[in-house]
């Protein structure tokens, strides 16, 4: 099994005719992802990689049965696109673009909660259930089907973690990118709880970074979980008050230091890892 996306997911792409949209549609299809179509208002009737293009998400759902959407649109159009998808009945939306206005993302989140949908991102590399489906921009080379789930804010860290799990023989069930923007559609605790319900995920690696509050929010969930969680936080030695790349990655006052995050997660029952090579060692000790 996997969480959120698998080989049966019917995936549509919003912005499928754009440069990034069409490029990644091809990549996702090549991986074996079940892409059923996409939308670009005003381009209904065209095709991309042999898949039908519609003007509206509702038309795409009616014709193809789409239940999942990946958004490849400029940041300023994301809010409306996500709300359109959610209201039309899409249950899982992946927001690839970065720099989504904060107030927009608050609305998307509200809409998702009201309709029982899940949103990932913005600024996520996507999500992959190895061997089944790859949504977003992650390279498939690092991933292999297996028994550990991962959740991270950063794409490059997801690759390193998956690469470590792949080469140590554990493989992955699903790798989830939460995104690097300051307001995210989903949070660590929500994804961890999905992994907890998944019998095939025998352990979870979560990697966070300085800034924000989403890692701390996971503590309560971790303390209730049976599936072991390995936690890694980037930025233990980051200087305070300096923005390190991700818009969300800045230590503000006393909030959001990596040390504090790792401490509270460990207290809640997570197993702390310092570098990637610690991960297979911890998994071995846990008998995974």
């Amino acid at each position: 099994m996997a969480i959120l996306v698998n080989k049966d997911s019917k995936v549509m792409v919003q912005g499928i005719t754009g440069g990034a949209g069409s490029f990644h549609t091809k990549r996702m299809l090549t991986y074996g992802t079940n892409i059923v179509g996409g939308t670009t208002p005003g381009k209904g009737g065209q095709t991309v990689e042999g898949k039908p293009v519609f003007d509206l998400v509702s038309e795409c759902i009616e014709a193809t049965g789409a239940d999942t959407s990946v958004i490849f649109l400029p940041a300023r159009f994301v809010m409306e696109a996500a709300i359109e998808a959610i209201r039309a009945g899409i249950k899982f939306v992946v927001v690839i673009p970065e720099h989504i206005p904060i107030h927009d993302m608050l609305r998307v989140r509200k809409e998702a909660v009201a309709h029982g949908a899940t949103v990932l991102g913005g600024n996520t590399a996507g999500i992959i259930s190895p061997g089944q489906a790859n949504l977003g921009i992650m390279p498939d080379i690092a991933f292999t089907p297996g028994r550990v789930g991962t959740v991270s804010r950063s794409g490059s860290i997801t690759y390193y973690i998956a690469d470590t799990l792949t080469r140590s023989g554990y493989g992955e069930t699903t790798c989830v990118g939460l995104g690097g923007d300051p307001i995210l559609g989903s949070t660590f605790d929500e994804i961890l709880w999905m992994f907890e319900q998944d019998d095939e995920s025998k352990a979870i690696v979560m990697t966070g970074e300085i800034g924000g509050v989403y890692e701390e929010r996971a503590c309560d969930t971790i303390s209730k979980m049976k599936t072991p969680v390995i936690a890694m936080i980037g930025g233990i030695f980051a200087p305070p008050g300096k923005r390190m790349g991700h818009a969300g990655a800045i230590v503000e006052g006393k909030m959001g230091t990596a040390k504090e995050k790792l401490d509270v997660l460990t207290e809640a029952g997570a197993h702390p890892a310092k570098t990637f090579k610690d991960i297979p060692e911890i998994l071995k000790k846990l008998g995974v």
Partner: protein
């Protein structure tokens, strides 16, 4: 995007939040002219994009008009947390009876907007929150929810005002909330909100931070002269150069040049270096799929930095390909040359091809690769980090 106090107050005025009469001055001569014209006690307030300016001595009361010029001159010489004082806001000294705190911000944890009020203003609200949380009142709203008059009155009553002033304060709360939503703010604070001896409520200070990613929909801000700015204090010359080249870059105080790929591993790679006993000289983010030209520029920044004794490189080819990465690095080696030892690892998309390109280039020009060690997937990134620390130590003469 953080606003200067005077910019925030312009927005306050637009939303009918009372502010003191104020004028902006860019020289001590201008301050002197204003002081002479007003001929009453004034306050000179340094305009800097950082908090704690009061504690740093950046706000001065001038009782006597004749002192204004000299006090202003001193302020213009100041740097507050690395920010030079270039403008002063000149205001009449207020006759203060009481000070309050009002703020609107985003509760990222719960995805809500929060109005915060306290009967104790003029102080660091985070400190109050920590020491006496009972003195702070919070009321939260859905992101698209109206703040009605009764909400505002409920909040205003917590300030401990009499009923006349509760009505005034409620109007200010509603206006601040409208401003917050209208301009895509991350934070809008009035601290302090002042009750004057004559019974007027006035916003004595403003602290507003807007969402950079939403500035595009507020064209009127540019008309007011409010544009995107660098708000992290003074930049070093290298940070300035990197900014011009569009490369996210920070100088740090170590000696290992970091060339790590994306922001996520950029942050974590710094930790790895520390774990093996080294110290990074910088933070850098290549961005997704950097061009060979961009990679070469990133290396120039490191190679020309005298603090850098060794360079750590890592590339996980995602959408970007390692062969393109190898081409970029080779271009740098040929056109610029590497004067420092560098260790680099490539894995992910097309890594074998990347290694092959390096091998080939090395055969052709072995002298270019004198200081350059490259590895593929077989060497763990931890070993690369360790090696970079060793190289820096050797370059420093074994220290």
């Amino acid at each position: 995007m953080r606003l200067y106090e005077y910019e925030g107050k312009e927005l306050f005025a637009k939303f009918n939040i009372p502010i003191p009469e104020g004028r902006l001055a860019a020289s001590s001569r201008e301050v002197e002219a204003i002081a002479t014209e007003w001929n009453k006690p004034i306050v000179l307030k340094s305009q800097v994009l950082t908090g704690g300016r009061g504690k740093a001595g950046g706000v001065k009361v001038v009782e006597n008009t004749y002192d204004a010029k000299a006090v202003a001159e001193k302020l213009f010489e100041m740097k507050i947390k690395g920010f030079p004082v270039e403008k002063l806001l000149v205001e009449p000294k207020l006759n203060i009876a009481r000070e309050f705190y009002l703020g609107v911000t985003i509760d990222r944890l719960n995805y809500r907007l929060v109005v915060i009020a306290s009967g104790e203003g003029g102080v660091d609200i985070e400190e109050t929150a920590e020491k006496s949380p009972e003195k702070i009142f919070r009321k939260s709203f859905e992101c698209d929810q109206e703040l009605y008059k009764f909400d505002a009155v409920e909040i205003a009553k917590k300030l401990g005002l009499d009923s006349d002033h509760v009505k005034q304060a409620a109007q200010i709360i509603m206006n601040l909330y409208s401003l917050f939503k209208k301009y895509d703010a991350k934070m809008a604070e009035i601290n302090p909100l002042v009750l004057t001896a004559r019974g007027q409520l006035i916003a004595a200070d403003s602290r507003i931070s807007l969402d950079d990613d939403a500035v595009f929909r507020h064209a009127d801000l540019a008309e007011m002269g409010i544009e995107k700015r660098h708000e992290e204090g003074e930049m070093t010359p290298r940070e300035q150069q990197a900014t011009e080249w569009g490369i996210p870059y920070l100088d740090l105080d170590g000696n290992i040049g970091m060339f790590p790929g994306g922001a996520g591993f950029g942050i974590m790679g710094n930790d790895f270096i520390h774990y093996y006993g080294g110290k990074p000289a910088n933070f850098m983010d290549s961005g997704g799929g950097p061009s060979p030209e961009r990679l070469a520029k990133m290396l120039v920044l490191l190679d020309e930095n005298p603090n850098v004794k060794a360079i750590f490189g890592a590339r996980f080819g995602g959408i970007s390909r390692c062969d393109d990465f190898a081409k970029g690095v080779t271009m740098f080696l040929k056109e610029h040359g590497l004067s420092k030892p560098m260790v680099c690892r490539m894995t992910g998309n097309m890594w074998q091809e990347g290694v092959r390109l390096f091998d080939e280039a090395k055969k052709e020009n072995p002298e270019l690769f004198e200081h350059f060690e490259f590895h593929g997937i077989e060497t763990p990134i931890e070993e690369i980090s360790k090696r970079a620390v060793e190289l820096a130590r050797e370059a420093e003469g074994g220290k």
